[in-house]
């Protein structure tokens, strides 16, 4: 870690002004759980840091507006999301996802904004947010803009952020609220790792049911970009009865995994389909053929 300048932004305004003046010089830092290991591995090209910790006061919020949309500030930590009563009531599947991030020590510092800006294909909160059509709000001295998270994430480590912007908040429209207490809606996030805790995702699936009883699906760690798995959604939402072979076919259309030190592409594809099936069966979808016996 070779940092030559370290600036603590004391307000959003100060942060934005700094970026407006020197748009490409600063590496932004919030919780530090992704940035510090990258510094240690010499993967950061900037030598100046813009620390956003003090923006917690302005950007740490978790609220619901009168239309029922959820607003989560970029500086809300994973653990704050896990502990939050509003999210528990209206979108608990996001808590299920954030709960799987690293460890409690990581969750106490890592922010949802950081998870998005790190743009790892394996980011744990991302599939749930994308399945729910989450939007991001970006701000700069020039004002605000808003776009779908799915369009914002461009690939591993790449987002559509402009060099003078910071991520301000995530918005979840009401129609995609799902929670355990509300029996009409259902949602599940399943993560497969090499062990049961403190592990980076090998494959993950988010399946949400919306107010029209249609499912929305997104996969994690299975493609360079996390996107809505429309082929899977179309199939499940239109088929009178599901069968495993067809499900596997549409899942394969929606994922493009790599082989790496954690797992092979072939295993990831199989597991993606199997995790989808597992969730659908738990959501009481019926499968035509021998359900639950073997996942090949």
């Amino acid at each position: 870690m070779k940092v030559n300048e370290y600036k603590m932004a004391s307000s959003i305004e100060e942060a934005l002004t700094t970026l407006a003046t020197s748009p490409t010089e600063y590496r932004m830092l919030a919780g530090g759980t992704d940035v510090l290991p990258r510094f240690r591995d010499n993967l950061i090209k900037e030598d100046k840091i813009l620390d956003l910790t003090l923006l917690k006061a302005e950007l740490g919020f978790i609220t619901m507006d009168e239309t029922g949309a959820l607003h989560i500030g970029a500086m809300a930590t994973h653990q704050e999301i896990v502990e939050n009563e509003i999210i528990k009531e209206h979108f608990s599947v996001l808590q299920d996802a954030c709960r799987t991030v690293g460890s409690i020590q990581i969750k106490n510092r890592g922010t949802i904004g950081g998870n998005i800006m790190n743009a790892s294909p394996a980011g744990d909160a991302l599939p749930v947010l994308i399945a729910a059509d989450a939007e991001v709000i970006l701000i700069s001295v020039g004002g605000e803009r808003r776009m779908l998270l799915e369009d914002f994430l461009l690939g591993p480590g790449k987002t559509a952020i402009k060099s003078d912007e910071i991520l301000k908040e995530i918005v979840l429209p009401k129609v995609y609220h799902v929670s355990r207490s509300n029996v009409k809606y259902e949602g599940q996030y399943r993560k497969l790792g090499g062990r049961k805790a403190l592990t980076i995702s090998i494959a993950s699936v988010a399946v949400l049911k919306d107010h029209e009883n249609k499912i929305r699906v997104a996969y994690g760690a299975l493609s360079p970009r996390i996107q809505r798995a429309s082929a899977v959604e179309d199939y499940v939402n239109s088929a009178a009865e599901l069968d495993m072979d067809s499900l596997y076919q549409v899942v394969e259309k929606c994922v493009n995994p790599l082989s790496d030190v954690r797992a092979s592409a072939e295993y990831r594809k199989k597991v993606a389909a199997n995790l989808t099936r597992m969730i659908l069966m738990q959501m009481r979808y019926d499968f035509k053929d021998e359900s639950g016996e073997g996942g090949c």
């Binding site: 497969l192 090499g194 062990r195 049961k196 805790a197 403190l198 592990t199 980076i200 090998i202 030190v261 954690r262 797992a263 092979s264 072939e266 295993y267 199989k270 597991v271 199997n274 995790l275 099936r277 597992m278 069966m281 738990q282 359900s291 639950g292 016996e293 073997g294 996942g295 090949c296």
Partner: protein, 750 residues
Amino acid sequence: MAENKWIGKKITRYDGREKATGALKYMADLEFPDALAGKILRSPYAHALVKGVEIAEAEGMLGVVAVLTAKDVPGLNGFGIEGPDQPVLCGERVRFIGDPVAVVFAEDLESAENAVEKIKVDYEILPAILTPEAALEEGAIKIHEEGNILRHHKSSNGDVEAAFKEAAVVVENTYTTPYEEHAYIETEGGFGLPLEDGGVELYYPAQYCFRDRMQLSAVLALPQEKIRINSNPLGGAFGGKDDMLLQPILALGAIKTGRPVKIHLSREESFMASTKRLPFKLTMKTAADKNGKFLAHKVFGISEAGPFAGISGAVFNYAFENAFCVYKFPNTDLEGICVFTNNSVTGAFRGFGNNQMTFGTESQVDQIAEALGMDPIKIRRLNCVKGGERYSHGHKVNESVIGIDKCLETMENSDMWKQREDFKSQTVEPWIKRGVGIAISQHGGGLGNLLDDTATAQIEVLSSGIINVKVSNEEMGQGSLTTFWLIAAETLGVAPEMIEISSGQTHNAPDSGPATASRSTFIAGNAIIKTAEALKDELKVLGKELWGTDEININSQGIYCVTCKTNFISWTEISAALSKKGIDSVSRTVAMPETDIKIDLGLHFIHTYVSQIVDLEVNTLTGEVTLIQTEIFPEAGRVINRLGYEGQSEGGSVMSMGYTIMENFKIKDGKAMTRNLQTYLVPTAADIPEIKVTPVELVEKEGPFGAKGLGEPASIPITPAITNAIYDAAGIRIKDLPASPERVLMELCK
């Protein structure tokens, strides 16, 4: 059994408070004034000649005090447990990715790191041997002058081929086990300090200070008396701190710079440079008659020593010593080869080859049982060596060999075994399959009879009245300090608070041998007892001199005359009285009991036995294996330190659970692809089953208070118990470790 005051009880450990408060300083926590920071330049190539090393630019950099290379080694530029084939700093050839070529000592770590980057090494890349098969090919490059074969064992008894022909069942399989990384939480690190007499002192976590001192004497061309080593506490070792790693470089740095020097490895550097468990490929063919009696066992195995002999030859030997587990095989055929490669350095790792071999053997036994429709516990009881019988290598073993049958019997009568069908029926989701598996193991304590295996203990009564017990065996977490403490207290008849243990050093403790091979409790414990008895003899002599009688009682206050109770002297007075007579301390040496025959593999006499049940679930959609509960039945003689005994059983089980289902050290072209704890996964608290420890307590009459070793034995049977349980659950036979989710799912889909 006699009722003891301290032995067998739950006692707060000797070094507990300082560990619980964070007060204990491990080696890299220490501070010495004017210390320099060291950084090593390591080879990026698996195999290459070193044509030249340019250090001029590095030497001139800010803060740099010394840049050392091979030419700076004053004595022998080599070390190694079996022979000095591992260079301190490579001047001619590098043999693995990580082999040290130079070291920079500077005022701070950043300066040292900057300087390392400016050292220019001219390498001529050589073909690298990256598989054991490549090491044996005609015309393969020789990693060492003598060739690429470190060990080749061949032995047989009877006629296996004839036995295979008449057998009712023959099972043949090939099993592979990967490298394993110790992943102790404390990475290697410590200090070298120059001494005024031209000698050197080390503060460095290691498992045998006396052997390190001997090797350093040759490297530094210094007499041993000028080398002082402090080797404990250790933050975990598991065999990984047995071979030397940084000691020669730290000693060299201290001598050459005249200042204290410090190196503390990052996790990545520890992964790269330190030893790993030997990987094995074992082809086994096993036969039995229609009643389940074993007829024959044939094993062909190949393993890697990595680039240096180290202790790998001994690991290989020990694997083959354990080829028959504790079964009677009338016909046997063993062949094994251990070769040099340019992959990771291999060495000692808890279990020492036994885990790998027993994984294969216990999988074979289960398959034979299945083929014959026999109960897996009954077939094992049928075939285990009984009291008075010899092992299948032909040698005599301890009478407590009946322990294995007691373990099996206890397991058979346990609730966990009796309720196994109940356990299996309790799944809800159709893709979760439950299974139950068992396995046994046996493990010889001590170094085996090819080596001298002795331990010396020493006791000094200090003028403060404290009784100072000295053994060099290092405390690495296994609880040896506590065990020695309780043994000394019990033998002398004083409260443990009266006893202070000196260990982990060459200057104030006698040579008790290495803290390895599950020997510390047994042999150092025996040495302490013998020495304590010798002290008691001296106290009796004192009694005679003072009061005319040798009938004395000993307690925490001192000694007093039995018949004339008012006659009493305190420990402080005893210290003075003994010193006056020229007896500064009492010391005795004991040897490990040996068996009666010798073969090239080395053989053990005292064995610990363990059986284990595992109840688990297999998720047939993801391949995940989840252990729900396990019960371990160790027969390790008497329990001395109850919390320690359970701790070893639980810790050994979880460590080897990791080896079996998640630890996957991947190496490609000689380079570790799993380079740290992010990609090399060890178990977390979320991964563990409920663990029940059921000691099967027999008295081993040769052992201190009837005890035997447990550190390694507790880590062995869980591996085949897990893979046997996976078969029970999902009908797939895992023969290649680890049984990761990917491997399990792929096997299910075949």
